[in-house]
């Protein structure tokens, strides 16, 4: 990694106001992250507050259905209900080290907003969360949680009122207050050093997987499957295995309703390299370079860009990309609920749907780790509405 470039992806495409702040952030991360004091604070919070390590669960019933041996990495059991807290705690500690008093962020599914509000309270930092008006509606339960924690929720009603718009407005806001306020980026997106920082904090997932799977299977997994848009839970799981060339990495993005007519979020299938929100990414856009809105029922996958590192991994064929359509995703929720008694987040259900749809891709003796990124409580109403209507 050089200057945050992953092949043709990445970089620091921001205006001059923010550039000095990014340089300062990178320096702060390099200075503090490795110190025993920082590690100690972070690990203590991850253990005692977040509930790590999360279990690696052998899902026997789901395994039988797919026809291989599937382990679920239970990020749904992280306090707050998703992997997002791993990164939020890390960046909140970093915010304190930098002497900043406030954090701003954006959220779509509400999981990252919730995680940031939690981390903010734990670290004594004020938190403001930008959220698209459409997402505020469809992820109402998380909005309530965030507000109960005392964070300010700022509705974003530009564009389609979804994640892309919330990121744009958070960047604009940050331009006015970057010297006192940290932008706690929620995924492995944005200008360098964000993709690096977020992937580093999330890689606790993969480190745990490595230890746990070796203990259970006496070998590395054959395959890791993860859903994603920016790529933070996927990279968190993948990172310690990127150099292990025999481990297959599968990344599942949001197919939306169909791949046609702006009804999808599948940037690997129908996007191309472009510059958005500070970096070159694989991104949905028209032939002139205007960014297209993405669509999927999973708010957390509803972003037109794939982060630089996952874009690079797919481009170099180290990772394989797949997608799942909305209807398949709802069915996958049901499959997981009926086989293992677990209700996954709609985002997570994309990874599940991929396995259900592509059973032939998995051998009988294959050991697969599915990164179970979050629980579905936040999506309950959407899920019930889908099944009642169809």
């Amino acid at each position: 990694m050089k200057n945050g470039k992953f092949g043709k992806y990445g970089g620091q495409y921001v205006n001059e106001v923010l550039m000095p702040i990014l340089i300062e952030l990178e320096a702060a991360f390099e200075k503090h992250y490795k110190t025993p004091e920082f590690q100690d604070k972070l690990n203590t919070l991850l253990r005692d507050y977040a509930g790590r390590p999360t279990p690696l669960y052998h899902a026997k019933n789901f395994s039988k259905l797919i026809g291989c041996k599937v382990y679920l990495k239970r990020e749904d059991l992280v306090c707050g209900g998703s992997h997002k807290l791993n990164n939020a705690l890390g960046q909140a500690l970093l915010t304190k080290e930098m002497g900043k008093k406030r954090m701003i962020t954006e959220t779509a599914a509400g999981q990252h907003g919730l995680a940031t509000a939690m981390a903010g309270n734990v670290c004594g930092l004020e938190t403001e969360v930008f959220m698209g008006v459409k997402d505020i509606k469809r992820q109402a339960s998380n909005v309530k949680r965030i507000k109960l924690l005392g964070a300010k929720v700022t509705p974003v009603d530009i564009g389609m009122g979804v994640l892309k718009d919330a990121v744009s407005d958070t960047l604009r806001k940050w331009t006015t207050c970057s010297q006192t306020t940290h932008y706690l980026m929620g995924s492995t997106v944005g200008p360098h050093p964000y993709p690096e920082i977020v992937a580093t904090f999330q890689s606790v997932i993969g480190k745990e997987i490595k230890k746990q799977i070796v203990k259970k299977e006496d070998k590395l997994p054959d395959t890791i499957v993860a859903c994603g848009s920016g790529g933070s839970n996927a990279l968190g799981a993948f990172r310690p295995f990127i150099k292990e060339k025999d481990v297959r990495l599968i990344f599942v993005e949001g197919g939306g309703e169909s791949l046609e007519a702006d009804n999808s979020a599948a940037a690997f299938k129908i996007g191309k390299p472009g510059v958005l929100h500070g970096a070159v990414m694989q991104v949905l856009q028209d032939e002139n370079g205007q960014i297209k809105p993405s669509r999927t029922r999973a708010a957390g996958l509803n972003y037109p860009g794939r982060g630089p590192e996952i874009s690079g991994l797919v481009d170099s064929r180290r990772a394989k990309s797949g997608s799942a359509f909305d209807n398949e995703v709802f069915e996958a929720v049901k499959v997981m609920a009926r086989t293992e008694g677990l209700i996954p987040a709609l985002e997570t259900a994309h990874a599940i749907a991929y396995m259900v749809n592509n059973k032939d891709e998995f051998d009988k003796n294959e050991v697969v780790v599915l990164n179970y990124s979050g629980r579905g409580d936040k999506d309950l109403e959407t899920i019930m509405r889908y099944f009642n209507e169809s």
Binding site: Q12, Y13, V17, M19, G274, Q290
Partner: protein
């Protein structure tokens, strides 16, 4: 006329330069052409010609709405470049500086894009989301195409960066006086004037101050502080957006504002010791 000659001409006349910023195609092309003609006839020295982008993260609400409308009405980068040609055909000779976000030239191919705007009659380009760290391509291709990449300086810019930027810049420097995005602001904080003075110590290159300028007084203040001129953009859009059905009816009010801002640029210069 090229930028160097324009700045020299104004210096000889003892005036500051005014550069209005217009996103092309809002609410439609014919109006943009009329607007730009009106601005040039009544005081604009340089044109900042904006090519609309879907996600203008350095722009405030006024210009966001402007970009959205222009794109909804079918404006494309190619039609914008044709628009530059139309201005030249009309005999407008003022320097034209194109502003857009990096994805537009990136997708077309940076070299091809720069060649096209050069052929159409532009002299320079502002890409707000390309800092010096990412400017290698723009600098190299700009040199080949004969287009100046314009760099910005902000209140957060350190001395070290200031040196880096002034070392590679050409055409002029764009001084962003406030920490924030484009848009009209009530008052121009001390920060703008201080920044102009700070940058002036580093370089003799022309400085254009922008972001938040909408009045004669503000224009005069930045020129007095040492800037070669003032940039105003959202202030004009705020006038014509009041009547998007018949934006032409707002041209008299726009004429008045451009005259005033230009007057400010002149007075600011005269007030210098």
């Amino acid at each position: 006329m090229n930028l160097e000659n324009k700045f020299r001409e104004l210096q000889n006349k003892g005036e500051g330069a005014h550069m209005p910023h217009v996103y092309y195609g809002d609410p439609h092309e014919e109006f943009s052409l009329k607007l730009l003609e009106t601005l040039v006839e009544n005081g604009a020295d340089i044109i900042e010609f904006g090519i609309p982008f879907s996600d203008p993260t350095a722009d405030g609400p006024t210009f966001q709405a402007v970009c959205e409308r222009a794109l909804e009405n079918g404006m494309t980068p190619s039609r914008c470049i044709e628009g530059i040609k139309k201005l030249r055909t009309k005999g407008i000779d003022n320097p034209i500086v194109v502003t857009t976000y990096y994805n537009i030239p990136y997708v077309m191919g940076v070299r091809k894009f720069l060649d096209k705007i050069k052929q159409a009659g532009a002299q320079a380009i502002i890409v707000p989301n390309v800092p010096v760290e990412e400017a290698d391509v723009l600098l190299a291709e700009g040199k080949k195409s004969g287009i100046h990449p314009i760099f910005q300086i902000a209140p957060t810019t350190t001395e070290e960066r200031l040196k880096k930027i002034t070392d590679i810049a050409s055409g002029f420097l764009y001084v962003i006086g406030v920490e924030g995005v484009t848009g009209v602001r009530e008052s121009l904080g001390d920060s703008t004037l201080k920044l102009v003075q700070r940058v002036r110590k580093h370089t003799d290159m022309p400085l254009m101050a922008g972001f938040g300028i909408s009045t004669k007084k503000q224009a005069a203040a930045v020129v007095l502080a040492g800037a070669n001129g003032a940039i105003a953009g959202s202030a004009y859009a705020r006038i014509y957006e009041k009547n998007l059905k018949n934006p032409e009816t707002t041209l008299p009010e726009i004429t008045k504002l451009v005259e005033q801002i230009k007057q400010g640029c002149i007075e600011g210069y005269k007030q210098r010791k």
